[in-house]
Symmetry: C2
Subunit: 159 residues, 2 copies
């Protein structure tokens, strides 16, 4: 299967990955959350090629995760901003950051998060909304819908 078919899968992770699961898109999102809005600033901060940046921005815009807004007509200039859909990717970026800080870091994390609500430096964590406890991989069990279960077993059978 090629990556082009990922959006068609019934797994929502596969679909998410098809849209934002590549190196450069994630770096663009990082920049967005750091406040970068302009083409050349994305270029400078990520050092990706302009060709790719243009393509990725277009893809994110088509998807609806960012929107382009003109800040000058003459000459034509525009900014890119996150939509609600795009802002909802924050947990993904934060999760990557924390993992990177923890397992690949060399000393201090270059970026720290301040919780505006309480004003403190914080390391956001995943919790269960029902009982409030912190959650990790071992506290969770995946439950598949019947149809998804069938789909996965079908893959097992005939190849």
């Amino acid at each position: 299967m090629s990556r082009a078919d990922l959006p068609l899968q019934s797994c929502s992770i596969a679909r998410a990955v098809a849209q934002v699961g590549d190196e450069w898109t994630i770096l663009i999102l990082r920049e967005m959350f750091l406040g970068t809005r302009r083409f050349d600033d994305f270029l400078r901060q990520t050092r990706m090629s302009s060709h790719l940046l243009a393509g990725r921005l277009k893809k994110l815009e088509t998807l609806g995760a960012i929107r382009r807004e003109a800040y000058s007509e003459h000459p034509p200039r525009s900014e890119y901003r996150l939509t609600t859909m795009g802002r909802d990717l924050w947990p993904v970026i934060i999760a990557l950051k924390q993992w990177g800080d923890c397992w690949l870091g060399d000393g201090d994390a270059p970026v720290q998060i301040v919780h505006k609500g309480c004003g403190r430096l914080t390391k956001p964590q995943i919790t269960c909304p029902d009982c409030g406890q912190v959650m990790g991989a071992r506290d969770a069990k995946a439950e598949l819908t019947e149809s998804y279960e069938r789909e996965r077993q079908a893959a097992w059978r005939h190849t």
Copy 2:
């Protein structure tokens, strides 16, 4: 800059992305969290090419996120299992899943999460460990270390 240079960046997100920020690695991790352990099962469930799967598993093993364990000597057969480092990527997968379910889903999520602690279906959320409140992008402010700030401003100047 090419993707090969990502691991050298001082940003921990860039470093994380260099290791696990590609389509197929994320799908492999999804399978790991669903309990898949064997080469051919990864192949069947992700439908990636065996060439790529072999490469990605090797990379994850070298990194230390998974380990290979023989479950038979004759014939030689092995399983892949998450290490603690690998299990710590759970929040990344969960964040992608929730975003996918919310923004790209068509009806029911194919996978649901049960919190073993309280036994309930749950949608894990990000909270501030200090005050306990749920957090989103708008509740957070990024604070850069001085050296990282300087590094970013240097990119701005001379090109």
